[in-house]
């Protein structure tokens, strides 16, 4: 991430990601308040904004709060901006559905990043639906320059129509770097908050009066959309198909059909129906190219237009050039020439799934849970620790949404079926996720007297998204000191009994195992909080790497079961004891990866793991 973009001069051409370009444009637009919660692929927008002067930016505890903070700022007449991933807007949808009624005074742009292709998300939802649902305009950029431009248009639109604006991004906008010409910052006043209870107090009587205004705004926005240069028509040499598209699919289309006729929707909701009808007169047929759901397609069909779309194109994933080419050839009943590729033989390569880091404090938890696998049901949550569902632990039984582990654990507890009666039910959640949406779930467990053991894995960062601060880290979005939540006190305040709250060192495996085993036997809510920092943050201390003494290793495989990527298999063997064959696994440690956490030392029965005292100094 380029942290010096704010220092670059107006007129410079820079190689920026969509996220970096958005941050710069937000600053240039004189936005006063910026908020968000980390989520791939939107995270870097707020990370970049934290480096800009002249504006306030924060990591909010969740997207709902982020949107409320941003909306509050606009009530003073200031411009505000918030950024989140697609599932974040689900969380923020409660205020969203009402602030569309009140509208805004200062401009409000909500950037929502869809993970098209699901590179790092639990679902693939099309956020453009929110525009239809919440009666809000939807702007869709396709690359970094376009994202930069769209921010400026979005704020103008927001203030002109007094409406929040959705900036719909996808991974290919957020995480592609391309050239952007940056500009000057425009200064803007904010006049201050003015009392207006009929507008801001949305009791039924006031809300009812706002509904017709919302429909009137819809009508005006539609008119605007018809004439807006955000929606541009290119009549090319080839008129056999008129493509209607939005977002980065536009670029994929240009790649395979440079001479095609294209109507690109930068303002994709409300649709410019008359413009589209006019465009249709210049071409033989209309094909809709949209990621991911057939929204434009359905609306145009409802208008009586004959269009092709998802009958030929996939309904999920990216519409990359190769996919588009195949579908368009199908429409034109043409056969495509396959590219001449280099390889001649097929070989499947092993998968290389993401895994927990060497010395990751979550490793200890999963080693323990994996060892009691048959006796526990483990509701999981969203973060690095979701990887506990994978090899070699297989010790996580669910992952649905932020904070869901709490509610789901209680549901299983209250519904216990035949096979569940003797099992312990656990919920596993990280620090950032717990503060985002887990607190209420835990309160609910306590209040409704669930028999659940809750593991709060406090690694003092938002790990999976690259290490952002939150109220449990003691630092704010700028890295400055901030009040730090005390998880033990917080859970006690929610009603968990004090002697049922254990703060433990997740590197001490025998002790950790014993604590979990003891707590799951007690039929009331208990909370186990781990306190080792993430290995990727500055609080983590690297110590001398360790080695396995080959003559002492008995091949028990205990250390290998931790799943630490620094511990590898040196040799497999079999041994006969009293006529029975046992598998032995002898271990080795990669000294370059080992950080000396001693987790493996704590469960090595034969004292075969020792620090490497004499080691070559590494310049880094």
């Amino acid at each position: 991430m380029n942290m010096t973009i704010n220092a670059q001069k107006a007129g410079s051409r820079l190689l920026l990601s969509g996220n970096e370009a958005i941050a710069r444009a937000v600053w240039e637009s004189s936005v006063r308040v910026c908020s968000g919660y980390p989520g791939t692929p939107a995270t870097e927008i707020l990370e970049c904004l934290a480096f800009y002067p002249d504006l306030y930016s924060e990591w909010s505890v969740n997207e709902k709060v982020a949107l409320e903070v941003a909306f509050g700022a606009t009530m003073t007449g200031a411009r505000a901006f918030c950024a989140m991933k697609h599932v974040g807007l689900n969380v923020a949808s409660d205020p969203l559905m009402t602030i569309t009624l009140t509208g805004v005074i200062g401009g409000l742009v909500i950037a929502v990043a869809d993970d098209v292709g699901m590179s790092s998300s639990q679902n693939e939802q099309d956020s453009r639906y929110w525009g239809r649902f919440a009666h809000l305009p939807v702007i869709e950029p396709y690359d970094s320059q376009s994202a930069y431009n769209c921010i400026k248009s979005a704020f103008e639109l927001s203030e002109r129509f007094e409406t929040p604006v959705l900036l719909r991004l996808t991974t290919r906008v957020c995480h592609v770097k391309s050239l952007v010409t940056i500009g000057l910052r425009q200064e803007k006043d904010n006049p201050g908050f003015k009392l207006n209870s009929s507008r801001w107090v949305m009791v039924p009587n006031n809300a009812r009066r706002r509904v017709p205004l919302q429909f009137e705004r819809d009508r005006k926005l539609k008119e605007f959309s018809e004439n807006s240069d955000l929606n541009s028509v290119e009549i090319g040499k080839d008129k056999s198909i008129g493509f209607i598209t939005s977002g980065p699919a536009y670029l994929h289309l240009k790649e395979i059909a440079p001479d095609a006729s294209i109507l690109r929707l930068g303002l994709s909701h409300p649709l410019p129906i008359e413009k589209i009808k006019d465009f249709s007169k210049h071409v033989e047929r209309l094909v809709i190219v949209e990621e991911t759901e057939p929204l434009i397609e359905a609306e145009l069909r409802a208008e009586g237009l004959s269009v092709l779309g998802k009958d030929f194109l996939p309904r999920f994933g990216e519409l990359t050039p190769d996919i588009l080419k195949k579908s368009i050839n199908q429409i034109l009943e043409k056969n495509a020439a396959e590219p001449k590729i280099s390889s001649v033989t097929g070989t499947d390569v092993f998968p290389r799934p993401p895994t927990l880091c060497a010395a990751c404090p979550h490793l200890g938890i999963y080693q323990a849970l994996s060892a009691m696998r048959n006796k526990v049901i483990i509701m999981g949550d969203i973060g690095c620790y979701t990887l506990g569902a994978g090899h070699p632990w297989n010790a996580l039984d669910s992952c649905i949404s932020m904070g869901a582990s709490m509610g789901m654990a209680l549901g299983i507890d209250k519904a216990r079926g035949k096979s569940d009666t003797k099992k312990a039910i656990l919920a596993v959640i990280g620090d950032s996720t717990f503060l985002h949406m887990g607190i209420q779930g835990l309160l609910n467990i306590v209040y409704n007297q669930g028999n659940i053991t809750i593991l709060i894995l406090d690694n003092r960062t938002t790990g999976m998204t690259g290490g952002q601060n939150h109220p449990g880290t003691g630092r704010n979005a700028h890295g400055e000191e901030a009040p730090r939540v005390d998880f033990a006190q917080l859970t006690a305040a929610l009603g968990v009994k004090k002697d049922r709250i254990k703060v433990v060192d997740s590197y001490n495996l025998p002790f950790l195992f014993q604590i979990i085993r003891d707590e799951i036997r007690i039929s009331e809510p208990s909370v186990i909080i781990t306190n080792r920092p993430c290995t990727l943050i500055e609080q983590f201390e690297r110590l001398l790497p360790h080695q396995v003494l080959e003559d002492k290793c008995t091949g028990c495989g205990n250390c290998i079961d931790i799943g630490c990527p620094a511990i590898t298999v040196r040799e497999h063997a079999q041994e006969e004891i009293d006529g029975e064959m046992f598998d032995l696994t002898f271990a080795a440690i990669d000294s370059n990866a080992c950080t000396g956490c001693k987790m493996c030392v704590s469960i090595c029965g034969s004292e075969a793991i020792t620090p490497i005292v004499e080691m070559a100094r590494n310049p880094l």
Binding site: R13, L15, S17, T40, G117, S119, S120, D143, T171, R172, H175, V176, K177, S178, L179, P248, L251, H252, K254, E255, P258, E318, T320, P321, D322, K325, P339, K340, I341, S342, S343, V344, T345, T347, V349, F350, P351, R352, P353, P354, T355, L356, C357, C384, L387, H391, P392, M464, G466, I560, G563, P565, T568, V569, H572, N592, A616, N618, P619, L620
Partner: protein
């Protein structure tokens, strides 16, 4: 300006989280821009910083539309690990180039016995129609006593196969270090030169 003065080039950079794939791709895109090209660089990492596969598409030309390199159209594959080169080799066109670090990085699913590592990955690559340039970047980084040099070595290895001078890549790398870690600038020059030398002295085997 015409297509000949700005030939288009698709470079697929692949490796494993933490190897510096993204940085290498960024250097390539930056140098292209400095030479008047348009460039796009995609960085879809997903959860890859946790030891997973990382790929970055670098597309350069007079005007680049899609940031995505279509299957079978990569002009060059720059692979930081040999099994990853095998995984992505189908992306390379028949007359393309594969510059590969022959280092093997064994993931837990392989060392744990769930899957096996390709028996002779270099032989698989050699059977490809593309020109293959195998480099032992690990050995070079070992000689220079710094494991983090892999991406500089690999950039050196590909530097004579690009439409701009190798020195431009080298200077861009050094420039980046001079901003953040000036003490490592000279070491990176050495790593770059070593990567370049090894690639040039090894004909397609």
């Amino acid at each position: 300006m015409n297509e000949t003065s700005f030939p288009s080039l698709n470079i697929l950079v692949v490796g494993i989280g933490g190897q510096g794939v993204m940085t290498a791709a960024e250097v390539l895109a930056q140098v292209a821009i400095d030479h008047g090209y348009d460039a796009k660089k995609s960085e879809i990492a997903g959860m890859a910083q946790r030891g997973g596969v990382v790929t970055s598409h670098v597309r350069i030309g007079r005007l680049v539309h899609s940031p995505v390199i279509s299957p079978g159209t990569a002009d060059a594959l720059l692979a930081f690990e040999i099994a990853e080169a095998v995984r992505w080799r189908d992306q390379v066109r028949a007359d393309g180039k594969i510059v590969v670090n022959t280092q093997q990085l064994i993931p837990p699913v392989v060392s744990g016995g769930l899957f096996s590592y390709p028996e002779n990955p270099l032989a698989i690559l050699m059977s490809c129609k593309a020109e293959v340039y195998p480099i032992d970047a690990e050995a070079i980084s070992h000689e220079l006593q710094n494991r983090k040099l892999i991406n500089t070595i690999m950039l050196g290895a590909i530097s004579d196969h690009l439409p701009f001078p190798a020195s431009a890549i080298e200077e861009k790398i050094v420039e980046r270090f001079q901003i953040r870690k000036p003490q490592l600038a000279d070491l990176n020059r050495k790593a770059f030169a070593a990567g370049r030398h090894h690639a040039n002295t090894m004909a397609k085997r």
